[in-house]
Amino acid sequence: MLAVQLLLTLIYIPPLSVSGAPLWPVPTTQSLGTGVLWLPDKLPFTVAVRNATQIYSTQNGTGAITTTSFLDDAIQRTSYYLYNDAFIPWKFHPRNQVFEPDLNGSKTTITGVTLRVNASDTSTFYKSKAGEVDESYTLTIQQNGQITITGLSSVGMLRGLSTLEQLFYAHSSGGVYTPYSPVSISDRPKFAHRGLNMDVARNYFPPSDICRTLDALSWNKFNRLHLHITDAQSWPLEISALPDLAGKGAYAPSLHYTPDDLKMIQEYGAYRGVEVIIETDMPGHTASIWFGYPDLITAFNVQPAWATYSAEPPTGQLKLNNTAVTTFLTALWNDLLPRVSPYTSYFHTGGDEVNANAYLLDPGVKSNDSKVLQPLLQSFLDFNHNALRKAGLTPVVWEEQLLQWNLTLGSDVVVQTWGAVGPDSLAQTVQKGHKALAGDYNYWYLDCGHGAWVDSPPGAPSTAAFPYLDYCSPLKNWRTVYSYNPLAGVPANLSSLVLGGEVHMWAEQIDPSNFDSIAWPRASAAGEVLWSGAKDASGQNRSQIEASPRLAEWRERMVRRGIMAGVVQMPYCTQNGSMCVGPGT
């Protein structure tokens, strides 16, 4: 008997199925049943804002983003996804098993969706600063077919609708159902700033690719798209007041972001609860300005010794202590800032990887001594940040400005850390009392690990560089992305300064053809860390056994919606619950 018991304890019996709905990101609390409810031919939505109940009807937008236009748009998208995802989750049930609800017998139908917003939106709810808008919501589905989403803002409604979409499946014989009735979900974000940094300068992305990405971000409950829109290699951003910037600095005349493109992108994001933040990186990463305005740039395209003057070719930085640069910046800000501020509260002025040697070649500086450079960088930053504040925008900068150059930043400034000065750069930033964003490159740089993009010089033995890794190899697989805790190493009393974080897509080796497969589903893993937190309710690191089939299912739904996402697991693993565990006993 004892022997039998011992044997039984030695045999690992995996769970047959994972309890709960495969929601991504996972809600704060959820209680789900096993009842089936069907969608009617047309799903009625009722919106109740500030006690004034009205039957919802589509209205023509007037151009301004209002509670009504925002919710109208969100409801239309949710209706579309509910009826058109056509997602049959066969990969998550045992092989050849009948898992779909019986079509015979009585069917209970969803009667309608009520959105109850228990507070008034502010007039700028779609371009809020971190924490200004309450994104929490509760979602209930009653067994009689009534769905209710309550919250304190329209954005909260949007997050609840995104969750609702994930509770429904297509039936292979037609119809759409949820197998989880009754449902009670209460949900709120762990972090207020949940972003993706998308480099659209090193390779060009048509606005349609950015919009598709905004959709995917919204489904994953991200609320920020950081567009790194200029860099050394190209300047695709059209500035009417400075026509030669994109006119000569874009890769080709057709590869521009016109003012209309930018407005469309930002508005598209605003309607999806994703604020589009623009970064014009400076004073480094600006060599593309040279094509239009050569006098503004020092150390342009030094070859072959580029590594002395910048992190990657082409070299070139905005001159410091230079009135022509100041005039240029004035024109840039006067043109750009009023265009972007209707849709965002933030503007990113970059400031990463400033190369001191480039200023040896700058006639107004002629030094690489940080004692000489520091005050010049300080006045450069102050000038820019004052222009931002005048336009009502909050500055964001890369960590080097604070941690490497020790510049004095306003208390409003958000510092984006990436681990440039060390793995504790986030902790260092908050210890200096600054608001900060997480996103360590050892975890959240999705572009890493695909190999170097620089070639060996002619004649050099290729073995020297073998196996041609990039600087941040290896590739960050989704488990690594998922294991990143933005609060690790941050003193508890300072954790409120960590506004959130961003996952990064630098584009040396990414363009529209491979963007999706590099971004997704790994950005989703970061999305869950940012929305749900890196720890579960019991304070443990989140379980990969629980997460991997859920992420795999979420990946399938994203694929249904046109995102060419990578694979999480083989169907074999997900068809049998969590079978791909181990090894070990």
Partner: protein, 477 residues
């Protein structure tokens, strides 16, 4: 490929020299056939006559694919042009077997995606598509005489490669100079057969799985079972004559055989190598005989020769995949294919598909959650692979060529292209030329090939950002 705003396109004068005709001559005279049956010559003269001389149809296909790469579309004219006339090219492959091993079993790969893959392969002068058509996780291949095999063993009833699908894919290969040949991996990697024929499989889905297989689910064909023998006769009797219309070779698998599974096999009841080996020899004698009986050449993974020391006919080709295996196969005077996992496994480096077992505090599934063979193989590493470096000259004739591999744990139709391309093109160049050269010139050519692949509808990854392409010498370190 040109500096920003450079006027690189030819003028459009009224009188342009037009290509008058393309003359293709299949001839045994101009090119000595011993160079390669795939050799070809192209001449474009200044008057617009294009002459192609080739020894075989496949040589002519290669010539046409090369010719296509000499032409560009003009942005102000619908008329493509070549800026390279007069042009003379003499070309022949270094290796005769230039393959891609594509796993269509672990995840569903649509036949239509394989058609596109064949087109991209042909364009890169790859000439063998090895379809790893069955494995432990699913059996997608329809076998009409064993209808339950795919019906029960596929992931889903509609995720089946019908006999018609297979024929269509093989025929498409013929037209693109790509021989599509099949692998039915055995006796390991067969547990998907269990769903239809449970009595043929030993050690199905055992725990802990790593004792019985390299990855879950465990399960192998029983080794000395008359039922297995007759099953294989039916299977190969159905399949081989059909695929032999388009293919000269058949891959019998034979990798990663697990001995412990045979302790549970009622026809073996031992994990002892001395007990298993004669039975394994009998097993392979049987299936190799079936392959040879229809006139096809057997292909087998390295383990059956190197780990089990089985005897095979000299015509057998052994596929090396572990680093260092190639010289060992050649030392036994057998024909071989290269493609070491450490250099040419395109699937690796994306992280493990396994979740950590919570009850195992020393689980090997731990940060940074690598798979078994990291890192990701970037295209330069693939191009730089030099399997002949350690091979003595008197053994090199035994190396028929190689295959670059895409196993399907983390690849399905959605991300197939970005996993394959442009890296498979780097492998293709290495096999065509015999040795890759990592230099800016290769980067630029590969980047141009990548753009052409994107034009063909292949979602290939990026080789170099535009700045690097437009500024020759700019991205060199």
């Amino acid at each position: 490929m040109y500096p920003r705003r450079a006027q690189f396109e030819p003028d459009l004068p009224k009188h342009r020299v037009m290509i008058t005709r393309v003359l293709i001559r299949l001839t045994k005279d101009l090119i000595p056939p011993k160079v390669s049956s795939e050799a070809y010559q192209i001449d474009i003269d200044v008057k617009g006559l294009v002459c192609i001389d080739a020894f075989s149809h496949n040589g002519a296909i290669h010539a046409l694919d090369t010719l296509a790469q000499a032409f560009y579309v003009h942005s102000r004219s619908k008329q493509p042009y070549t800026p390279l006339a007069p042009l003379e090219i003499k070309d022949a492959p270094f290796f005769e077997h230039r393959g891609l091993n594509l796993d269509i079993s672990r995840n569903w790969i649509l036949p239509v995606d394989v058609l596109r893959t064949i087109e991209a392969m042909g364009f890169n002068k790859l000439n063998r598509l090895h379809l790893h058509a069955s494995d432990s996780q699913s059996w997608p291949l329809e076998i009409p005489s064993l209808p339950t095999l795919a019906k029960e063993g596929a992931y889903r009833e509609d995720q089946v490669w019908t006999a018609k699908d297979l024929e269509k894919v093989q025929l498409h290969g013929v037209y693109h100079g790509v021989e599509v040949y099949l692998e039915i991996d055995m006796p390991g990697h067969t547990s998907a057969i269990f769903h239809a024929f449970p009595d043929l499989i030993t050690a199905y889905d055992q725990r802990p799985w790593d004792k019985y297989a390299a990855e879950p689910p465990s399960g192998q064909l029983r080794l000395d079972s008359p039922d297995v023998k007759s099953f294989l006769e039916t299977l190969l009797g159905d399949l081989l004559p059909r695929i032999h219309d388009f293919s000269e070779r058949f891959h019998l698998g034979g990798d990663e055989l697990n001995r412990e599974a045979y302790a549970l096999d009622p026809t073996v009841r031992s994990s002892n190598m001395e007990v298993i080996k004669p039975l394994l020899q009998k097993f392979f004698d049987h299936v190799v005989g079936l392959v040879e009986a229809v006139g096809m050449t057997p292909y087998v993974w390295q383990e059956m020769l190197l780990d089990w020391d089985l005897k095979f006919p000299k015509t057998t080709v052994f596929q090396a995949w572990r680093p260092g295996a190639l010289p060992l196969i050649l030392a036994k005077n057998h024909l071989a294919l290269f493609g070491a996992s450490t250099s040419w496994y395109l699937d690796t480096g994306h992280g493990t598909f396994l979740d950590p077992l919570p009850s195992n505090p020393s689980s090997p599934i731990k940060p940074p959650y690598p798979d078994w063979c990291p890192p990701y193989k970037n295209w330069r590493q693939i191009l730089d692979y030099d399997p002949l470096a350690d091979i003595p000259k008197n053994k090199r004739h035994l190396v028929l060529g190689g295959e670059v591999h895409l196993w399907g744990e983390l690849t399905d139709s959605v991300n197939l292209d970005s996993m394959l391309w442009p890296r498979a093109a780097a492998a293709a160049e290495m096999m065509w030329r015999g040795k890759g050269e990592v230099c800016e010139g290769t980067t630029r050519r590969l980047a141009e090939m990548r753009e052409r692949l994107v034009g063909l509808g292949v979602r290939a990854g990026v080789v170099q950002m535009e700045w690097g392409l437009r500024n020759r010498g700019g991205c060199v370190l």
